[in-house]
Symmetry: C2
Subunit: 416 residues, 2 copies
């Protein structure tokens, strides 16, 4: 039974790592709350049928499924959207719209682990239900931007590629058959990961249109404004134009090749990247107006995004924006004499109502306690012995400056 190990693709968070992770989550949480999003939590385990509703059976090989004990097939959530949708539908009538929810937590996918991709990983997920307006798309993109800025990233550290599925589909369907649409979208989505020639090869099944499609992708938003768009393409263009007007200036870049693989996106779509394009996407999302009805709810427009912690933490490390963990105690109370440990513990209990306080619980002698206090980088030190217990007079030593001050035990709370 020796030599247990962590499962593949999961991480252990030791105190310093967890402290940094919590700094990131706090910043995301603060951004979400300030944007009027409310935090919710969905179970980590859901019925398999819920998790498969969007993608179908093929999801089985990509997620962690639970061995059947009861009647129902269960599995671990691989994203927040299905659980959010289920919760929304359950209270759909009574909830004032728009509903703006977020969660930060673990999700699980059975994938090959690599840099920035784990099997157990963390996502910040934000969704808006009940607004079909470009304002709502701008709202979630603005939250995405604010979250990244809240982490200390600057405008030139990242950007958001924005597109609209109606616009893209409308333009494509002028040149290709509907039956080829999904395959074309999947190929286009890879545009920034492959060379122009590779992309042409991927699109070869379109015959002579492949060249036109690749050229289409170079169109700027201004180019499109000069074209006589119509139908679906025009609708998508107008939505995107209004959305882009409302996104914080300087962050969004139009990119006709952002398709967001999944067939279920219906309108504006977006992905955030670090400016050097060094890492995988920081976040991705868009509008999926058929989502809620797909899960059995009353027709409801929806838009949102998910942001992964793994890539964010790689970027923060690269930009040297990780904060130094603050783990050291405010005060170390060293106990000079076992005979007064009762009074020492009582002092410690009082101090702990206000401060991080360490004391000895291993029976070390005074000199080893002082060494331990140093190793923990305690900010202040109080040595408590018989004299202190009798006189009620405590010496507080500032471990940084070496400065000492004498305080009556009864006044200690004011003094620290």
């Amino acid at each position: 039974m020796k030599g247990f190990h962590r499962i593949k693709g999961a991480e252990d968070f030791y105190p310093a790592m967890l402290w940094q992770r919590e700094q990131v989550f706090s910043a995301m949480r603060a951004a979400a709350l300030n944007h009027g999003f409310l935090e919710v939590d969905v179970p980590a385990i859901e019925s398999f049928s819920l998790l498969a509703a969007k993608q179908g059976e093929e999801i089985r090989s990509q997620i962690f499924t639970i061995e059947k004990k009861g009647e129902e097939e269960l599995a671990m959530r691989a994203e927040f959207t299905p659980g959010f949708a289920r919760m929304f539908i359950e209270k759909q009538r009574e909830l004032p719209k728009p509903v703006k929810w977020f969660s930060i937590g673990k999700v699980w996918r059975y994938e090959r682990p690599q840099a920035g991709r784990h099997r157990e990983f963390f996502q910040f997920n934000a969704e808006v239900y009940g607004s079909g307006k470009p304002e709502a798309d701008a709202e979630v993109i603005n939250l995405l931007i604010s979250s990244l800025l809240g982490l200390g990233l600057m405008q030139n550290d990242f950007f958001v590629r924005v597109n609209n599925r109606k616009l893209l589909q409308g333009l494509l369907l002028e040149k290709i058959d509907k039956g080829n649409l999904e395959r074309t979208l999947r190929a286009i989505d890879k545009r920034h990961k492959v060379s122009r020639n590779e992309l042409l090869k991927e699109l070869a099944f379109l015959g002579k249109s492949s060249q036109e499609i690749v050229e289409l992708l170079d169109l700027t938003f201004e180019d499109l404004g000069r074209l006589q768009l119509k139908g679906l393409a025009k609708e998508g263009y107008d939505e995107l134009k209004q959305c882009m007007r409302l996104v914080r200036p300087g962050f969004a870049r139009f990119d006709l090749s952002i398709a967001r693989g999944l067939a279920y996106y219906t309108g504006t779509v977006f992905e955030a990247y670090d400016s050097e394009m060094r890492f995988r996407a920081l976040a991705g999302g868009g509008r999926y107006d058929s989502l809620i009805s797909m899960y059995g709810g009353a027709d409801t427009p929806a838009t949102g995004f998910a942001m992964g912690y793994a890539t964010i933490s790689l970027l923060l490390a690269r930009k040297k924006l990780e904060k130094e963990p603050e783990l050291s105690p405010d005060i170390y109370v060293a106990v000079q004499d076992g005979a007064v440990c009762e009074q020492a513990f009582s002092l410690v209990a009082r101090l702990r109502q206000y401060k991080k306080v360490e004391t000895d619980i291993t029976g070390r002698n005074l000199s080893n306690q002082l060494k331990h206090a140093n190793r923990l980088k305690a900010k202040k030190l109080i040595v408590f012995g018989k004299e202190e217990a009798e006189s009620g007079l405590l010496k507080i030593k500032d471990m940084l400056t070496g400065e000492e001050k004498l305080v009556q035990e009864k006044d200690i709370i004011q003094a620290i």
Copy 2:
């Protein structure tokens, strides 16, 4: 594909419920940090062999196991201890002792759901590795007490039953055979859940000693102090005495019948209950000095406890200590005219760096926006129209007092 539902024994946390849960977790976290514990996080999924190391194969029916995809059998954590132990062992050499760690998070057990018991539930778990002293037991019990006080509970709302397994075993082995020990401990552990007669019946297998055992359980700590204890019993008594001296006065009650079922407890054991004994135990723990070696690490004394959120929340509700959720926006910015929505969004973005701000993203008319602001209980209101955009002069209305003040847009941050 219609009518998805939450899995049995799990909870959906809507914003108000989550807000309350987070209040509780924040109080627990603050108590742990002030007691010098550091937060860690272990994966939710571990190898089955790790989770089964303490209890053996029989655990299989009580936990959620994962369908095998790779080589290894995996399962969902049912408590934090195995993961903590694995993490500790991995860095056992380099970590300064004592190691004091805590986590707050989800655990999963395949059990019949009932009041205060779910299949997906939350535990606050705290452990100390590397001190065999009663001071360490007192430290974790004091953290338990401080956590409950931090939730607003008072001294007369709860108490901690404390015992010592060496003491109990030493006393029992004077009267019964070693082979009967575990079964006896399990029976004794139920003492407060059954009548005296039922307990006698449970212990009937001991023959005439059963009566003596039941009487033994009534011994007070003072009674024991007057007895001539020896061997294991004496050792346990001395440990417990020192521990009780250091626990915050007025919370601990000696109770010889606390055995903590599991065979692996080796010293001081304890359980916290609400004073009315209305609910299941709030928390339970104790010393398990053989734990780390059982998981393959170098021999290390250990002590700790786990506290469940479900029972805590029932008790807080009963004591009317649940706080009123604060979910309403600080400011609602109503947009009077679509033509100025760009400026309005820009104002909103500025305000959101400091405050919780809502605005319209659904295209409602002004009157419906004001209704929505009321429904959300927004604290302040700014109506932004052409006039405001042109003049740069904003009227901030306090929605509680009705008071209004005029502010230059450039000074808005100072004014809110």
